[in-house]
Symmetry: C2
Subunit: 190 residues, 2 copies
């Protein structure tokens, strides 16, 4: 859960060269898509050869894990910021959606497939997801809310909704349903 301050998040420390590799990898992924994030293409942008990257990262997965780490930090940041506004759930999901749509390839990389938790900074994943628990108050409802948001973003990114769908309305309906559930969950104040 940790404090809300962004700087409380532990970032992996990396050498200047390794940091640069991650930066370029991110540009490559975001601008050209996952199919273009190859060790050779990455090396070329760095002015070196592919095998040299292995002096800095164990393998490609390790580079991707560094990208995931930065995504978790960033999405956490925007979500904690959203919690400061009124209509918590609405602004939280708006921030989540916006991040996903602005960084489609990074979002997909970060949220699909198995994740090697042991290789992530301890507590990062938990910190990043905590805003849902803060907003929903009840843990299971929080996970359900996250699942809804994730499903929405993924299906929107993959263009799986019927053409012409009014997704703003879909988000609104989901938010309405969850907001009502949250209010019912805690019958007291707010």
């Amino acid at each position: 859960m940790k404090a809300i301050t962004v700087d409380s998040v532990v970032r992996t420390t990396r050498s200047p060269r390794a940091t640069q590799i991650v930066e370029i990898a991110r540009e490559l992924l975001e601008r050209e898509g996952p199919g273009s994030l190859t060790m050779r293409a990455l090396a070329e942008r760095l002015g070196i050869r592919a095998p040299s990257i292995y002096k800095h990262f164990r393998n490609k997965e390790a580079v991707e894990l560094a990208l995931i780490e930065s995504a978790l930090i960033e999405v956490g940041e925007v979500m904690y910021a959203a919690l400061a506004e009124p209509e918590r759930i609405t602004s939280l999901l708006a921030a989540y959606r916006a991040y996903g749509l602005e960084h489609p390839n990074l979002y997909r990389l970060s949220t699909t497939g198995a994740l090697d938790r042991r290789s992530l900074p301890k507590g990062l994943e938990e910190w990043s997801g905590a805003p849902f628990f803060i907003a929903a108050k009840e843990p299971h409802l929080a996970q359900a809310l996250w699942s809804f948001a994730h499903g929405m973003v993924m299906l929107e990114l993959d263009q799986r909704y019927p053409p012409g769908s009014e997704l703003d309305k879909t988000w609104r309906e989901g938010i309405k349903a969850f907001s009502a559930a949250v209010h019912q969950e805690v019958p007291a104040h707010e």
Copy 2:
């Protein structure tokens, strides 16, 4: 929307050999995972060489599309069946979840990444998703419900929930929220 009868769905007609290829491909995918569904491995199980597969399918994507087609039909079937029971939304999502968990690799293949709609039987995708619209009554709420279910299944398959999460409860909370929304949507009967 179409009729509820399963046989109203149009299946792509295929030669016996092509049908067999799809069958073996499915076994390979489901049993060994997506990384093992290679043209060479597929060919080996068929007793032929990889290039020969291209006499039956344009490329690997076409084989995968055939798998997606069968998945859409099957998940549609179990969902229409679920609609016949009381507690529509509960049984619908239970059926959806069960299908996803029983066919993790097929589910992932079918629901992630871009989908070439033009190459699918016309109306299949719509038919397959219609149960959500029937259950939720309001189209946007239906899409939200589907998104929730999809997000839940994906995150469960990818083991993205914190270890020890009680996912049954999470499903229940989501279902509760959406059920209430559906009842509020149509203030009249049921």
